[in-house]
Symmetry: none
Subunit: 212 residues, 4 copies
DNA sequence: TATGAATGAGGGTTCATTCAT
DNA sequence: GATGAATGAACCCTCATTCAT
């Protein structure tokens, strides 16, 4: 049938990824059919296979690309941040920000892990472990520096990640709060949670009021 | 396929629920086939329909029963607890404890909501909202009492729930920590997170509310 | 419980085997679709799977059953036959007769071996080897007895089998020749082929031309 | 399919025919996909259509070319052979030799006839009939000359062809026997089979056992 | 000539569900 | 209650083929 103008190649692949992201986020990997996906993209189901090798590989690619981005951007966010407190603040800010921007990838990477076949699963879990490790290190450092008071670093790591990740379940762009306000709220919660009673978190300097 | 003598109807139903819980937890609702479930129970697929009306209803029942239990037991846990601090502590302890005991139901109730058809979905979300509301009330009360310092009660509510709920992703019975240790760690994290740095509540200076 | 008409159980399986035999014979295993087969049987494609586990297994079953029958019936045909000449005659008569009666199974077992997956292939080839071995033994015995003059037993074995098997490519029931005439013709050809010039085959006493 | 000198079209076309021959022999026509074929040749599937018009036509070409060669070479082999015995011997020698040399074409021409569409099928069957007719004539002549003793020429024709053709199912170059030994064995089998008891076949003078 | 993307049909197979026995 | 056979829809995926580039 008549196709839209323009080079189809890269465009089609991008459309598949985008639509796939949305459909998996909305219905789940198992519940998304390639017929749906193809219809969304505007091609026949079989034509998908000019761009992907398998439904499974599409999922794996989406997740792996996300995790790689996550790790790479975390490095950038933490670069030249000194001290556990500042690094934790940077971690929270980055994590929340990333999760608001790419909440679909994040959600999928968390909820569809079980749909990955073993080989892909191993790879992704390893990368995710590396990410968690970054937070665990910050907490450990902070305890050593005496600025954090954490009973169990592992529990705290998981808890903080869960707390931060949870927001992609409820965050909707254009909601009541600004992005900055949400970041500030989480910074405060997390830092308060891990800092000893005697210390107090330094103000972040943001006011969270949307100004545009 | 061992059958006990007597009326084994209730037994079969219980086996179905149990196996269904496990299979949905493990593979997801969409990925669990009734053939699998029947095989697990030791009957033929068609025989399931002597006990359930629909795959969808099985899911709805499992989730609804869980949420009802959750609410009922929360009432019990909070009964005769006075003061926001003590009530929050009780909430955390109850929530963590319940999630460790019934992590499969909890996980399913969180991850398979999207598989519920609209009518069931509404009902469950309403009940879940009631549960979250209990926590929000505690936080609001605490702020009014001056014992909590929370910028945005809603964000804090979601965050705390996410934090607590996250543990059913990693908790394994028989792990490194005792149940009590995990409860204690979470109590500390949460209470630290919401209590003011000093004895006197510090004005936050940011309200994060959109002003447009 | 008596099976009434319309109660399909064993009947359906038998219909599947029969139709499968015909369709594979006619179009080849690869070219036969399960949709065709189901239509022939009068059920929906998916319903086939109440009776077979796989298209591949259907083929393997058809072939294996045939080969088992072939071996078993050969034993019967050779029982109490004495002497290489008489045994060879019995072999030829049995083989030709069986191939005319069940030419579809025979054809499939020869032509669709390559469609068997490795495990099934091994099993069938082994059984076929056992069958060929029976003929090879007869030839070897005959040479030892001095009644056969064969340069290479293996070549002769393959050749005789091929000669006899070839007839299921052209034999049509109701053709010009009677079954007995065809058997007689092949007995003569084979025995002449392997007996030394000096000996002479016993007259079969049948002329084989249909007289009606 | 015009071939121009200088271009490498012929090369590609030859590669397609060669790979097609091998793949059809190995997997069967239905089971061979043009994607496989293209991969084997080292081009994209769509590019095949610069050389062939259709999968079906590729098969028909391969078979027809083979049959034409077969007939033409048979004429050469029989030229200036006199007498039914010598002509039969020549037929057998030629047939066996050709089948060993080009066993893939032969096998395909026998086993994939059913995959030809009606028009191609008719043409090929007619040519094959002509080939069989040559053998039938030799047998008929021999009976008239009194050197053959055959009850039914048609049965004998089919049987001999089957016997000879069967060897491309088991012959492997480099096996136990030399080409000449195999030819000699078949000459003996066939001639013995059709000659009357009183006559004796002339020795072929070859022993055929590999000595190196 | 070769390519890559598209088509439309169809492949084997699984599914939730029904129902006579 | 349990069963086995049936349904009809849908699944992921492969196919031969076309055609603009």
């Amino acid at each position: 049938m008549a196709r839209t103008i323009g080079s189809h190649g890269p465009t089609t692949m991008e459309a598949i990824r985008k639509a796939g992201l949305r459909l998996i986020f909305q219905h789940g990997y198992e519940a998304m059919s390639l017929r749906q996906l193809a219809a969304e993209v505007g091609i026949q189901p079989g034509s998908l296979y000019n761009h992907i090798s398998t439904k499974q590989e599409l999922l794996a690619d989406l997740i792996q690309d996300h995790i790689n981005d996550l790790l790479r951007e975390l490095e950038t966010a933490l670069r030249d941040k000194e001290g556990a407190v500042e690094r934790l603040r940077a971690f929270v800010a980055f994590h929340v920000s990333y999760h608001m921007t790419r909440k679909r990838e994040v959600f999928i990477a968390n909820s569809e892990l079980r749909s990955l076949d073993p080989r892909n699963y191993e790879a992704v879990v390893a990368l995710r472990g590396a990410y968690e490790q970054r937070l665990a290190e910050i907490l450990t450092d902070g305890v050593a520096e005496g600025v954090f008071d954490v009973d169990d670093v592992q529990v705290a790591t998981f808890a903080i990640i869960a707390l931060l990740t949870g927001l992609c379940s409820w965050y909707r762009p254009g909601g009541r709060l600004t992005k900055d306000a949400i970041i500030a709220a989480h910074e405060k919660l997390v830092l308060s949670g891990v800092m000893p009673r005697s210390a107090k978190p330094s103000p972040s300097g943001r006011d969270g009021i949307k100004t545009e």
